[in-house]
Structures are given as C-alpha cells and as structure tokens.
C-alpha cells in the first residue's frame, strides 16, 4: 500500500494515518490509491458543505509540467529563497511529480487518457492549475479553482529581488481571467508573467516603483491583447484583471486594472485599508453618488467590470498608489473569489492570521480556505507580502512545517 510522507499538492508533511492534508485539505487516501471503494474524495477537510463529490487531487499526476518560464505551478517542496542564485529571482517551476497509479479520482476505476479524462467515467482529472502554491522568503501566493468552477482562470506570480540600493523587495501579481471571454486562463497567465517580468526589470534598473508598476500593467495589457487571434474589435478577445503589489523597505506600491484588490493589514490590525478602487459597475455607481455601497453591491450588475486587459478593452488605464506604512504589516492582494467573502478591510483584517507577516504562505492558505468554506463560488487567489520585506530578518526560510 503506497504511503505518502508529504502532500503531493502542497508538500505539507503527513502521517500514515492522516486522511486529509492539514495544509490544503485534499484527501490523501485517494492520492495514495487507497480510497475506500465508496468514498468520495473531499477537496477540503472542513465543515459539511465545504467539500463536494468527485474531486481533484494532484494534477501533476496527469498533466506535464508547464515550461519553466511560466512557473504557475505549485511550489516545489521546500522551495528555497532564490535571491542570490544567479539568474533566478522567481520561485522555480515544479518538477513533474509522477504518481505510481493513474486511477480516476472520481470513480477510482478507470485509467486516465492523454487528454486528462477518465477512460471509464469521463471525469476530468485534476489539473495543475486547480491548486497552486508558491512561496519565496517573505512572499507567498495560493490559488484555487474553488468549488463551483470547472477550471482555475486565475493566475499569479510571486517574486523577490534586490534593488540597486541593495535593499530587498518582494512583488506579487494576481490576475483573474474574464470568464465570458475566450481563453481567460491564458489571459491571466500571460498577464501575470508579463507584468512580473516588466516590474522586476524596471525595479532592478532603479525605476520609481509607481512608474514601474504603471508600465508593467501596460506591458501586461499588451501581452493579453496579443493573445487575440481576431481583429481587435473581437468581442470575446481573451481578457483579465490584474493587481500587483511591491513591498520595499521604504514603501508599498500597488497597481491595478479591474476588480482584483489589494489591502493593507497592519500588525496591530488598527485601521486596515483597502488600497484599490474597483473598475466595476458597483464602484462607479458608488463613486458617482448614484447608489449606496450596499445597494450597488447587491445589484446583479455589481461585478461587471469597467476596466480590463484585453484586445477589446476600450482604454488601458492603470491605477497606481504608493505609501509608506507607519508600522509593520502585510499587503494582501486577491481576486474577488476572496473578497466576496470578506469585502471590507475590517472583515479581511479579522480573517488574516496574527502571524501573517512571518508566515505568509500559511496566511494565504488560510484566506483561500475562508473562501472555500464560504462556498468557493469563484476561483480564488491570494498573495501575502510582509512589510517591511523580510531581508533575512527573523523570517524562517520556507520549509515544510508540521
């Protein structure tokens, strides 16, 4: 009987008799090919209703690893701080982790075909993007398909670098594919990667962070527009939102297009702030004084976005903001898959674990868990950036924890 010593999804160590992963909640028995005959795998260990029937587990069993450059996969176990390693500044792409048995996670009977479907019951097998975790020292991100969508159209990147001054900086980019557009998953992945590359290049060459953020969003928008295979008026061109944050020793900088958000959560939890202003119908109604926030967000049009990255965007209008926090804390950047369950800064602050600054990965997982426990109606992606950035002070290197 195969035994797992660590979760194949999130690398959390586990004991032989653990039924569910303590980190991401996946049913370990199913992954080990040891599922009870009538057991339905639960996505998360959690309250009733939080799980669902036939579900995913480790996508890496069925899907080849993406090209390394893309790096949207889950972090490899014990991903080390890459700073100082020549040429590497982002968390490395995972090595494909094969699994001895390739049996369907849904019916536990069929083998898996080359397209990732069960040869018996036809159920799609978990994909790499269903659940992604990445961590560098001092910055972490987690993304999950959620419980009601068939694929994860969110994407993110976390990165760390050294500024020309010698100071450390960490960055996170989070993107949410527009579901009604074609290939939203490709849009979000392209935007996250292009924005990260542009941002790091600019920061490393000494650019003003706000300027760097603005330009990175424009670069990301171009990358998404380039995915459109029709003329630019193609109504369904691939599209996504983008929110990005940089934490440097002297300032936090955020930039965004769309309705993905960034929040400032101080260590003392006094006066947390939402840093972004949605490009959305609801936000427009509120800012124009036409509706109360409660009424606007209750409207079914609330989430219609008024700004996005894509070939059919009316205009690309990046918003940026820089500020110097008075004390330590974390920046939380996320898609609406999270903030639908913790909308205000106060609600979110209450949900962020006290040790967020020293253990950003656990916080990101915890916040994703809140969205899943709340029903997981959308894909959910969360990145947590400590301020001031770690710079090797007091933060443990990312490693599996009990």
């Amino acid at each position: 009987m195969p035994q797992l010593t660590a979760c194949p999804i999130c690398a959390e160590p586990c004991e032989p008799d653990d039924h569910y992963c303590g980190g991401c909640g996946v049913e370990l028995a199913a992954l080990a090919g040891n599922a009870p005959p009538h057991g339905s795998a639960a996505r998360r260990a959690g309250p009733p209703g939080g799980g669902r029937g036939p579900v995913p587990s480790s996508a890496v069993r069925t899907v080849p690893a993406p090209p390394g450059a893309r790096g949207t996969g889950p972090a490899a176990p014990g991903a080390a701080d890459p700073r100082g390693t020549a040429g590497v500044r982002r968390s490395p792409a995972p090595a494909p982790r094969g699994h001895p048995d390739r049996t369907c996670v849904s019916c536990h009977t069929g083998g898996i075909d080359n397209d990732g479907y069960c040869e018996n019951c036809g159920h799609a097998q978990p994909r790499e993007r269903d659940h992604m975790e990445r961590e560098l020292e001092g910055v972490a991100g987690v993304s999950d398909r959620g419980l009601r969508h068939h694929r994860n159209e969110d994407a993110f990147q976390v990165s760390a670098t050294i500024l020309p001054s010698g100071a450390p900086a960490v960055a996170a980019v989070v993107c949410d594919g527009v579901s009604s557009a074609t290939r939203p998953d490709e849009a979000s992945a392209a935007a996250a990667e292009a924005a990260t590359d542009a941002l790091l290049d600019a920061l490393e060459s000494g650019a003003d962070p706000q300027r760097a953020m603005h330009d990175a969003l424009l670069t990301a928008a171009e990358a998404v527009a380039a995915l459109s295979d029709g003329p630019s008026r193609d109504y369904n061109a691939p599209a996504c939102t983008c929110v990005s944050a940089v934490a440097a020793p002297d300032a936090v900088t955020v930039g965004w297009i769309g309705d993905s958000r960034a929040y400032w959560i101080p260590d003392d939890r006094v006066d947390p702030r939402r840093l972004t202003e949605d490009d959305s119908w609801a936000a427009r109604m509120v800012s124009a004084g036409l509706m109360s926030a409660a009424d606007a967000y209750a409207d079914e049009r609330a989430h219609a976005i008024t700004g996005w990255l894509g070939a059919d965007a009316v205009e690309i209008d990046p918003h940026t903001l820089s500020f110097r926090p008075e004390g330590p804390g974390v920046v939380v950047v996320c898609t609406d898959g999270l903030w639908n369950y913790a909308e205000s800064a106060v609600e979110l602050a209450a949900a962020v674990p006290p040790d967020a600054r020293t253990d950003p990965l656990r916080s990101a997982r915890h916040l994703v868990g809140i969205a899943l426990d709340g029903g997981g109606h959308d894909n959910v992606t969360v990145a947590v950036l400590p301020f001031p950035p770690a710079a090797g002070r007091g933060t443990e290197p990312a490693a599996p924890r009990p």
């Binding site: 036809g122 159920h123 009601r148 068939h150």
Partner: protein
C-alpha cells in the same frame, strides 16, 4: 479487407461545435462535429492521376453500373435510350485503370460487360467495347433489385481494390421479390461497397430507393426527365472517381452509463446512423461513414451522460475517424472531444450553440416534409398544411433555398416567415417526388 491507397490518403480533421455548459442536474449534451477530408484529388478539376492509386500507380477502385432493363423502361421508349446514353457518358468518365462492369437488371441480373464474371480495366479500348455492348441493354422483364446488388457485390469483390462503388438506375418498384428479400440483401451487403441510386420517371418508390442508398451510404435522387440522365451520371461517376479512402468508421467513446441518444449525419444530407452502431470496445462503438474524397460532412451527436456536480467537467464523447488496418487494428485519422461542464451560471447553460440549433432545424425540416407529404397522401389536409407550413418556415429561416423552392411547387406560400401555406391542388407527381427525395438535403450554417 479493403487496402489503403497509402500515399494518397486524405488528411482528416475534426471540429466540434457545442455549448459544453449544463445546468445542475443537466444530462443531455449536444454537439455538431464537422469532419473534413483534404489533400485528395478532387480539387479544381485537375487531372486525378494521383488519386486512389495502388502501389503500381493504377487507380485502386472498381465501379459497377446497374441499369434497369425491366419492361417498363420502354414506356416511353426514350427512357431506355436515355439510360443507354447516360451509361455511355458514365463509362467515358471512368478513369484509366479503374475496374468496371455493366449489369442489366430485371427480375434477374445479367452481365452486359465485360461478361466474364469479373471486371474490365478501363482504357480507351475497354471503354469503347463497353459502350458498344450497351446495345444489348434492352427492355423486357420484371424488377428484382436484390439480384442486381448481389451480382454487383460479386463483381466488385472479384478484385482486391480499395474503393468499391455501385451506381443503380431504376424506373419502377421492386415488384418481383418480397420486400423482406431486399431487406435481407441490404443487411448482408451493406458495408461491402457504396452505392448511389437514381430513380428515373415517377413510377419508382422514394422510400424504397432511399432505403437502398442509405444502406450503402450513397446518394439518392430523382431524374424526372430522362434527358437529364446523362449529365447526372457523369457527375455521379466523377464524384465516385474522387473517392480516396473507403470504409472509414466514426468511432464514438462515451462514458460509463452514458447513452447515445442519436448520431446523425446532418450535412450534406440528413442520415440517421444511430442504429448502425457496432460495438468496438467497452463504451465504444463504430458507425459507418463510407468512402471519402475531398469533402466535409457534419454530424449531430446527442449523448445523455450521468449528471455530476456543479464545477465538474466530463468528457461526454470522444469522436474519432478510424480506418481498419490489415492486422485487424485501426488507425485513428482524426479526433475531437465533446465535453460537459456543469455550471450554476444560467446564462452559460441556457445558450444554444448556433450549429446545433441550425441542424436541429434542418432535421426537423426533413421530418416535416416527409410527414407532411404522407399526411397529404392520406388525405389529412389540416395536418399536411401545418407540417408543410412549418417546413416552409424552417427552410426560409435557415436559408435552405433549394428546399424552399421545391416546397413552393407543392404548396402556395402565403407567409414564409410565419409558415402560412395552402395546399396546392394539381401538384405534379414529379414535383412531389422531387421534394420527397431531396427533403434530407441540408445547408450549412450561415457564417
């Protein structure tokens, strides 16, 4: 077993059009599957020397022409004359190297050419001899189509070729054998060759001839005026000469506990293949598609799958085009995936794919014409008016102009958009039979 014309096999591609989103509890998945074969020889009227050739460079095909010589072919006598001319024109179209024969059909089948129990290989001399032998096509006797088909089968299988095709011309009903005999013959022979059928005049039965052409995956049409036969035969033979590969199967995988509600070819004509499944493997069945040249066909697939949770994705069907190999296995020429995704987004799950909607309408159009004409014959004029009216509406809305024109010869159209029609008195039998025969012809989606 059929052999491949290896170096000239067309390339197949499969495209799937569907709305994969189902509401919670939804089970029925519809998709239109477009299969296109390219790289064959029927392009631009260029010489077809490269097509369907065996290793020696010789075309790897055989064709048998079956000509009705029953007594009725002499009334009027120009019918027999036109049949001879048409057969001669078809013989002229047989490419060098193709094996061929001519069979005269009455209550028995008679070899006219070459007459030695086998096939002749086309060249200038055999074509001339064959045309001369057509003088022996004389009318007299009855009609027993099974005997024609069985002789044709024998002749076509007297040589080892890749493409086997028959062309059948008749002017009357299959009167001199029991209907069950014909059905048995079709059961025995279907899949052994393809066959196009033509009815000349108006004394034949549309349903009977359609059953034959369907069994042999060929076309069927009416040639009401014998003078039109020659051009029709020539074009039928040209199409036959353009075929590159025979016995292509459409292989369908569906998940455990799924049910294939139907699989229909919907373009260029409606042809229900549902009942023609043969099991190939667990959860896998093969449906015959016959032979292919450079062409494109559409299929409408409807599968009922077990329901799954919102957020789940399932492969509802895998559609492959397969070709049998000498070792008993198959090679997969192309494949497409039909998916099911359960969502609580009602805007997504209620959307109807335009291709699926279009062909649902085209299938209904064919059915309304068939039922409307039956009702009309039976004297149920109210029902006939309603059904033919609906047909006019569907033909009009989908841009099926040819069918709309044929309908307008059978009913007076008051309002095409609303489907208001009046049954027209004094409709000619030819017009009615033309509508009936061509009712299954569809048009593709307006882009």
């Amino acid at each position: 077993m059929a052999r491949l014309a290896k170096s000239h096999l067309p390339e197949f591609s499969v495209e799937v059009y569907q709305n994969e989103f189902l509401p919670e509890g939804g089970r029925e998945v519809n998709a239109v599957v477009t299969v296109t074969a390219t790289g064959g020889g029927t392009t631009g009227g260029m010489p077809l020397t490269a097509v369907g050739t065996a290793d020696g460079g010789r075309p790897d095909a055989a064709v048998v022409l079956m000509v009705d010589c029953s007594g009725s072919m002499d009334y009027p006598s120009e019918k027999m004359r036109a049949a001879r001319q048409a057969t001669a024109a078809a013989i002229d179209t047989v490419r060098d190297g193709v094996s061929f024969a001519v069979v005269a059909g009455t209550h028995v089948a008679r070899e006219i050419y070459p007459g030695n129990g086998g096939l002749a290989v086309a060249d200038q001399f055999t074509r001339r001899d064959a045309k001369e032998s057509l003088r022996r096509l004389t009318a007299g006797g009855g009609t027993a189509i099974s005997s024609w088909l069985r002789l044709t089968d024998q002749l076509l299988h007297s040589q080892d070729v890749a493409i086997r095709h028959g062309i059948l011309l008749t002017d009357g009903r299959n009167e001199h054998e029991k209907p069950a005999t014909l059905l048995d013959t079709l059961g025995d022979l279907s899949g052994r060759f393809t066959c196009d059928c033509r009815g000349v005049g108006t004394d034949w039965e549309v349903e009977e001839l359609t059953r034959i052409s369907s069994a042999f995956l060929g076309s069927v049409d009416i040639v009401a005026d014998p003078s039109g036969l020659e051009a029709d035969f020539r074009s039928m033979m040209e199409t036959a000469m353009g075929k590159e590969v025979a016995d292509v199967g459409l292989r369908l995988w569906t998940p455990q506990n799924a049910e294939v509600v139907f699989l229909k070819q919907v373009a260029p004509t409606v042809e229900d293949l549902t009942a023609r499944r043969t099991e190939a493997a667990p959860r896998t069945g093969d449906y015959p598609t016959g032979s292919w040249g450079d062409e494109s066909r559409d299929y409408h697939l409807c599968v009922r799958v077990p329901s799954a949770s919102v957020g789940d994705e399932m492969l509802a069907a895998r559609v492959s085009l397969v070709l049998g190999q000498p070792d008993g296995g198959v090679s997969v020429l192309a494949q497409g995936l039909v998916r099911a995704v359960w969502t609580d987004d009602t805007a997504a799950s209620t959307r109807i794919n335009p291709q699926v909607a279009h062909y649902t309408g085209q299938a209904e159009l064919a059915q309304m014409i068939k039922q409307g004409l039956e009702d009309r014959k039976a004297g149920n004029l109210d029902s006939a008016t309603a059904k033919l009216g609906r047909a006019v509406q569907l033909a009009n809305a989908s841009g099926n102009e040819n069918t709309a024109k044929l309908l307008a010869k059978v009913v007076d159209v008051v309002d095409a958009a609303r489907g208001t029609v009046r049954i027209r008195p004094g409709v000619t039998e030819a017009d009615e039979m033309t509508l009936e025969t061509r009712s299954t012809k569809t048009v593709r989606v307006k882009k």
